[in-house]
């Protein structure tokens, strides 16, 4: 229930982020007991690299606290869509925060917005849409994979945000978003292998007063076909772009200062030369620098984002 609004203490049933380090985080459900593969009810013990956690012990604890593991410690954080995206169980490829932020901004989603999304996938983007549009808006999300749709529906319920979302199991390219959504949406988002097939349905779903459209495609050919379809239907302000986020790794570096000046002076006698040579090999002086650099490998491509506006009063018949 921990996705609805900011809260201070862990309650039974919350999803909690167990934060061990920048590269190690887990989303766990705060329930004292779980059912194992054999169908037996057993205490919920979660294993980490720093030992085990008896999950019962974190219920009632304040978010942001340090909790003991059998061989170390970790912090418990309230999940945000950003943390969830990094820890969620992948059922499909997912879209990450930099692209998602741009999608929310460009689609102008705010409380009260009605958004149509296809496909639901692992629900990474859906959580951001829901944060942005609740408590007065609604998300209609579609997936052609029945089990995925069911899993997503169940997840939204357990996360306490089911009131603001309807999950549909439907192939929107062939069947559209349904007549009940005609003229209802402020924004439509497509992440489909053939977005051009769904563009006419998006056109129908958008309000007569106009709206915003976005399609995410890893390949440029998909964007091309999508844009042709958008142009045909009277969409304007068509923009395609790519966003990549770069991490700057901050490190303090300690560098030796090499003295080369003494080489300009003639050798005085053998003993001092010996000490000089010794000194130059083990310089007394070191300097500390605060530096940052990009990691060796970075994400080089996620997808092309195509945005468009449906102007007001375009006849839909």
């Amino acid at each position: 229930m921990s996705f609805l609004k900011p809260k201070t203490h862990i309650e039974k049933g919350d999803v909690v982020i167990l934060y061990l380090s920048v590269s190690s985080m887990h989303a766990i459900e705060a329930v004292p007991e779980i059912v194992n593969k054999k169908g037996e009810t057993i205490p919920h013990i979660f294993q980490t690299n720093y030992g085990s956690l008896k999950v019962e012990n974190i219920i009632g604890v304040e978010y942001g606290s340090k909790v003991e593991l059998s061989k170390g410690w970790a912090h418990v954080l309230q999940p945000t869509p950003e943390l969830w995206t990094q820890t969620l169980p992948h059922r499909t490829q997912i879209i990450y925060t930099p692209d998602i932020s741009m999608i929310i901004h460009q689609l102008e989603v705010r409380p009260g917005s009605v958004v149509v999304e296809s496909g639901t996938g692992s629900g990474s983007l859906s959580h951001y849409f829901l944060r942005a549009l609740k408590p007065t808006g609604h998300l209609h999300t579609f997936d052609f994979h029945e089990a995925r749709a069911d899993q997503a529906r169940d997840e939204f319920r357990r996360h306490g945000i089911a009131d603001f979302v309807t999950v549909y199991h439907r192939d929107v390219c062939n069947l559209g978003f349904g007549a009940e959504l005609d003229g209802k949406a402020d924004a439509v988002f497509l992440d489909l292998p053939a977005p051009d097939l769904a563009v006419p349905h998006a056109f129908k779903a958008l309000k007569l007063s106009g709206g915003r459209f976005c399609s995410f495609s890893p390949c440029i050919e998909q964007s091309q076909r999508c844009i042709q379809e958008l142009t045909k239907l009277g969409f304007n302000e068509i923009v395609s772009l790519e966003v990549l986020q770069q991490e700057n790794v901050v490190k303090t570096r300690t560098l030796p200062v090499i003295d080369l000046e003494f080489l300009k002076l003639p050798k005085t006698d053998e003993t001092t030369t010996a000490t000089n040579a010794l000194e130059s090999k083990t310089p007394k002086e070191v300097k500390k620098y605060l530096t940052s650099s990009n990691p060796q490998t970075l994400p080089g491509h996620t997808g092309f984002l195509t945005f468009a506006t449906l102007p007001p009063n375009i006849p839909k018949a």
């Binding site: 900011p6 920048v22 930099p98 998602i100 007065t136 923009v239 772009l241 790519e242």
Partner: protein, 444 residues
């Protein structure tokens, strides 16, 4: 089903976005006599009143005055239907084109019309397609150009003679585009991808209490946060700023409902912190004095960074006053407005915040030191700076205190694409500086 009734109409006092092809401009429609300048064109806005937002208007030449740089044309605006807007190529019915540019010489004599002829043409006809038609007729080389090159020529001419403007309602997206294009300094260099991520990482939404310190984005950052908090929700925003008067242009332009506007409490950073730590010892002056002890150089205080500023804060300050008129009548000597805002802000500060956003021209270090204790544990912190070095230092400081975890220092790369059949490539120019974000989560 949405009807035309759902589309808001243009009212006096509104900020409007005037769009002519790709050019957009934010303009206040203060009175019926208001005019807007788009380059050499002056537009009389009178006829916009009560028309629905999103409408397209035709610019009709009323008179031409000699100006400093060529003739300045005054236009009236006439509402027109979408069908009047057709592609120039379609209107002109151009069919023949060349295969390549081997027969085209740049001798400056391709166009037989003289500049004077064109100027006269412009005054005579209102229709850009007629002007372009004449230009094409009198061009010796047009029909030898390739189809692509013809298109480019037409687009260029269309841009120059395009006689339609669209009036749109300001949104965060449109305003950021305008501000950033005009002068990125207006929004402290916060680029679109960066703003979108500030909103994400801060977690700002319809629930919770949020704290923002910004030193001058023409109101765009508080407007973006308040926009995400939404109308008819329970979220609140305390907006701290270093000047005597907050910059509020973007906030006013959004035309948010009064209840939503009032959930943004704008206070001076120094004066509210003094109030918070020392209680009601504020001086009985009518102006929140910036504390001299705060060694804050005067020139960095963005009190009137744009000409529009004094006018910009008007609507916001006026409306609450009307609302308070009752209490004014009862006791005319009530405490000044800024003092009431300080009181409201300190109450929210004591209750602690669900997120902290800092976008400072100053070094963020001391600001964070002062504001971090006001944030609950397990809450996001987002710090923006155009300068990486400042955030590197802040990163280390926060890491050392152990009060913030999950620290990341990030920047962005953003590229736009031209996507056309057989002519797809990245745009020739791209922005090189997104600014930097330092993000993390508070600990208990």
């Amino acid at each position: 089903m949405a009807t035309e009734e759902d589309i808001p109409r243009i009212q006096l006092g509104d900020y409007i976005v005037i769009q002519r092809q790709k050019y957009t401009k934010l303009q206040k429609f203060s009175s019926l006599d208001t005019t807007a300048n788009l380059g050499k064109e002056t537009l009389e806005l009178k006829s916009l009143l009560d028309q629905p937002y999103g409408s397209t208007f035709k610019m009709c030449v009323k008179e031409t005055k000699p100006g400093k740089r060529g003739a300045q044309r005054q236009h009236t605006l006439e509402l027109c239907s979408e069908t009047e807007l057709r592609s120039t190529r379609e209107v002109l019915g151009i069919s023949s084109s060349g295969a390549d540019n081997r027969d085209i010489q740049d001798d400056g004599e391709a166009q037989t019309l003289k500049p004077e002829d064109i100027a006269q043409l412009r005054e005579e006809c209102n229709d850009s397609s007629k002007i372009i038609e004449k230009l094409v007729e009198n061009s010796k080389t047009f029909h030898n150009r390739t189809e692509y090159s013809q298109e480019k020529y037409l687009l260029k001419k269309e841009k120059k003679y395009f006689e339609f403007v669209q009036i749109r309602q300001p949104t965060i997206r449109l305003m950021l585009d305008i501000f950033y294009r005009q002068d990125s300094e207006k929004v402290m260099g916060i680029r679109v991808d960066t703003l979108s991520q500030i909103i994400s990482y801060s977690g700002v939404c319809g629930f919770g209490s949020y704290l923002l310190y910004e030193s001058g984005t023409n109101g765009l950052l508080p407007a973006a946060m308040l926009n995400s908090i939404g109308a008819g929700t329970e979220g609140t925003l305390v907006h701290m700023h270093p000047g005597n008067v907050p910059q509020k242009q973007a906030l006013s332009a959004l035309k948010l409902p009064l209840e939503q506007q009032q959930r943004c409490v704008s206070v001076n950073l120094y004066s509210v912190l003094r109030e918070f730590y020392q209680g009601g010892e504020a001086k009985a002056t009518d102006v929140p004095v910036v504390e001299p002890s705060a060694n804050k150089p005067q020139e960095t205080q963005p009190e009137t960074p744009t000409e529009e500023q004094p006018e910009a804060i008007e609507p916001i300050t006026k409306k609450p006053k009307l609302d308070e008129s009752k209490s004014d009548r009862e006791g005319a000597k009530g405490p000044p407005r800024w003092h009431l805002e300080n009181k409201r802000a300190t109450a929210l500060m004591h209750a602690e915040f669900d997120s902290l956003v800092v976008a400072a021209k100053e070094h963020p270090s001391n600001i964070l030191q002062a504001l971090l204790p006001l944030v609950k544990p397990s809450r996001p912190v987002v710090v923006f700076s155009t300068c990486k070095e400042l955030l590197q230092e802040t990163f280390m400081e926060l890491k050392t205190t152990g009060k913030v975890t999950g620290l990341h220092l990030t920047s962005n790369w953003l590229r736009t694409y031209q996507i056309l059949p057989n002519r797809t490539h990245p745009e020739v120019n791209m922005s090189g500086n997104s600014g930097y974000l330092l993000t993390g989560y508070t600990l208990r």
